[in-house]
């Protein structure tokens, strides 16, 4: 059984502009000791889905199921959730400055996390806090427990966050853009630290990021999200070498240095959609070079395709067309021809209209 098993998670926020459908039926599993990378652009719902698991989205309508060691997280009351949060599932956030309290000393904040969940004396908790800071390679931890967050550098703050998250040895660590705000060398330090902790503690991780480089480095399996849904899921090799979904394919072609990219970058046209007005059918169809009529009409199911074991993709292209090379693209193109009718013609007309007005000349 998986450590965490999420099924058909749906999260929406009622706003004055309309309902923001941030997550629309997302399913994934996290195995004990493994790392799942969740990749997506701004607004793809990757952070919202993680926050919802821990009841951290007040005001959101959440439905679906999330079984953590057999416990239904979405059915827990606030008290029960509090017992899970921090102790069993910990989270670290992108911006350590806004996730540490500016008014309290770092050591105090770590002690609080420990003493909330474990019956520990103040002195013992402080001793553990010092040990934790030492563990995450903060120099002079005895002094640093007395520091306020603003007295630490960005990398140190993120380490303090990690120390706090690991204080209770959680079974699952959710890292939301853990290194985005940090420099490359600091990023490497932190990922080595997290990797080491994971191996020793047998902890599972969900790494949420837009950085495909980070995913390529740390993830065992990868979930690519687009407009609140899973677009593709597979082990890391398959995602980078034999992707099925045109969105994954497009991401890889638009990143310098990615596997299978070379020479000029091929950007994905247009912008990610608004989550209030999500395109019909497959939400990616207005940006997809292989869009067919069916894509405009019907939402594709998230089904097995042939890249490898456990490879799932939500796309109407045939399941055996995977890969990043020219042959795979040609196969995609062949399949698409003849399946483009009036719906695509209308879409094309709208785009070329915009282009004639100078709208997207360079995309």
């Amino acid at each position: 059984m998986s450590l965490l098993s999420v099924r058909d998670l749906t999260v929406s926020f009622p706003t004055s502009d309309g309902v923001v459908r941030a997550v629309r039926g997302l399913s994934f599993d996290v195995e004990a000791g493994q790392t799942l990378g969740i990749v997506g652009e701004t607004g793809s719902g990757k952070s919202v889905s993680a926050l919802s698991l821990l009841g951290l989205n007040p005001g959101a309508d959440v439905s679906g199921s999330a079984l953590f060691e057999g416990k239904e997280l979405l059915a827990l009351g606030p008290e029960q959730l509090r017992a899970v949060r921090g102790a069993e599932i910990a989270m670290i956030f992108q911006d350590p400055l806004s996730s540490l309290h500016p008014y309290y000393r770092v050591g105090w904040q770590i002690c609080e996390a420990i003493r909330t969940h474990r019956r520990t004396s103040r002195a013992e908790a402080m001793r553990q806090a010092v040990e934790l800071l030492r563990l995450v390679s903060i120099p002079q931890p005895e002094r640093r427990v007395q520091s306020f967050p603003h007295e630490l550098s960005g990398g140190m703050r993120q380490r303090a966050m990690i120390a706090m998250a690991l204080a209770l040895r959680p079974k699952l660590l959710i890292a939301d853009e853990p290194t985005t705000a940090l420099d490359a060398t600091v990023q490497a330090q932190l990922m080595e630290l997290l990797g080491g902790m994971q191996r020793e503690l047998g902890m599972a991780m969900i790494v949420i990021t837009h950085d495909l480089g980070l995913v390529a480095t740390v993830a065992d399996s990868v979930l690519v999200m687009y407009a609140g849904r899973g677009a593709e899921r597979a082990d890391y090799r398959t995602i980078f070498h034999s992707p099925h979904h045109p969105y994954t394919r497009g991401l890889l072609a638009s990143i310098p240095g990615a596997a299978g990219s070379g020479g000029r970058l091929v950007p994905i046209v247009g912008q990610p959609p608004s989550l209030i007005r999500i395109p019909s059918g497959c939400a990616f169809h207005p940006r997809c070079p292989f869009a067919m009529d069916v894509c405009v009409r019907d939402q594709p199911p998230f089904v097995p395709v042939s890249g490898g074991e456990g490879h799932l993709s939500a796309c109407w292209l045939p399941p055996d067309v995977v890969g990043v090379d020219a042959a795979a693209d040609a196969a995609r193109q062949r399949f698409v021809e003849g399946r483009r009718g009036p719906a695509i013609a209308r879409l094309r007309a709208a785009i070329s209209g915009a282009r004639a007005r100078g709208g997207v000349a360079h995309v």
Binding site: E41, A83, A87, T116, H117, R118, R119, T120, Q128, E131, L132, L135, S137, P139, S153, M156, D183, A184, T185, V186, Q187, A188, Q189, M191, E192, G196, R199, E200, H210, D211, L212, G213, V215, A216, T217, R237, F240, A253, S254, I255, P256, G257, A258, A259, R264, L265, V266, P267, I268, Q271, P272, R287, A354, R357, G358, G359, V360, A361, H362, V363
Partner: protein, 383 residues
Amino acid sequence: MSEAATPVNPASNEPTLAAAPAGDRPLLQLENVVKHFPIRRGIFFKRQIGRVQAVEGVSLEVRRGETLGLVGETGCGKSTLARCITRLHPLTSGRVIFDGVDITRLSAGQLRPYRRRMQMIFQDPFGSLNPRRRVGSIIGDPLAIHGIADGGERKRQVQELMEVVGLNPEHYNRFPSEFSGGQRQRIGVARALALRPSLIVCDEPVSALDVSVQAQIINLLEDLQGEFGLTYVFIAHDLAVVEHVSDRVAVMYLGKIVEMADTAELFGSPRHPYTAALLSASMVADPEKARSSHRVVLYGDVPSPINPPSGCRFHTRCPKAQPLCSVEEPPLRVQAGDPGGHLTACHFPVAPGEQLVGAEPAISAAVTEFVATSPGAGEEETV
């Protein structure tokens, strides 16, 4: 501020745009550029109690039509250097020579013709556009300020620019908030292009953008370079982006250039230990490369530029540091066996194929110790 007097360049008295054919001459030369920011304390008599040595003696050349990448971590002075190039900051000392003319000490009025020829694109497409002004007037500003076009002609030129960068010219009257991040960055590009500059300094132009949109802007900048013969100084912390766009790359650490070479040369055989560590730390989106590569983990943070280390500024974190490194500062020079354009400031450069070893005990040892010693492994009580 201690502004050392330098001899006035005769050409700077009467700067003209036409006085510069000389095809071989580099478009931009920096000579020993130094920029310090004073730290003052006190209310009435502000005493200077220290200085941030943001840029410390940078010399480089940018050739016509090339893209020079500038990489380094937060606080290495790359953005300050960019602002020194465009003279948004006055220099503490050193010279900026643009197209053969020393522009270091020119007055605002004298500088104006040169300002036309060098423009900047900023990182934050939200912070660099005035939210209360319409796009048309934002892009048209340079044309107005330099008295190039008025009224209908200005509008025509602005709409042409919008079309060039892939914006809909009908959106002339919209506000920045009505555009997405990528489109705003296009507005910034259009504004920079308005005066047909020769040099554009791009300070992290794609860092704030989504991955799929990043490529659109990179391609746009490449197209414009071909179309208008632009020269770029391209600052970014994403090494893959820099490798993709640059002809040559300079690596900065604590206000100094530590290594400079052609892109393929620098990425292929870095000689400075910092460059090697930086390259190995960057996470490429290719799982085989990302996982097989030997990662050199640097410990600690970048030291403060207020009180930089003696000798080689990198010696406190360098896996190859020797006693000499803390005493004597290595000059930026061609190392034995390197091609002429490859400069490295290091006493003990990395040999080709050499593997650097981290200087501090491995983290896994610390983790093992933590697991063994920390109490409450089994007897924890949930309150």
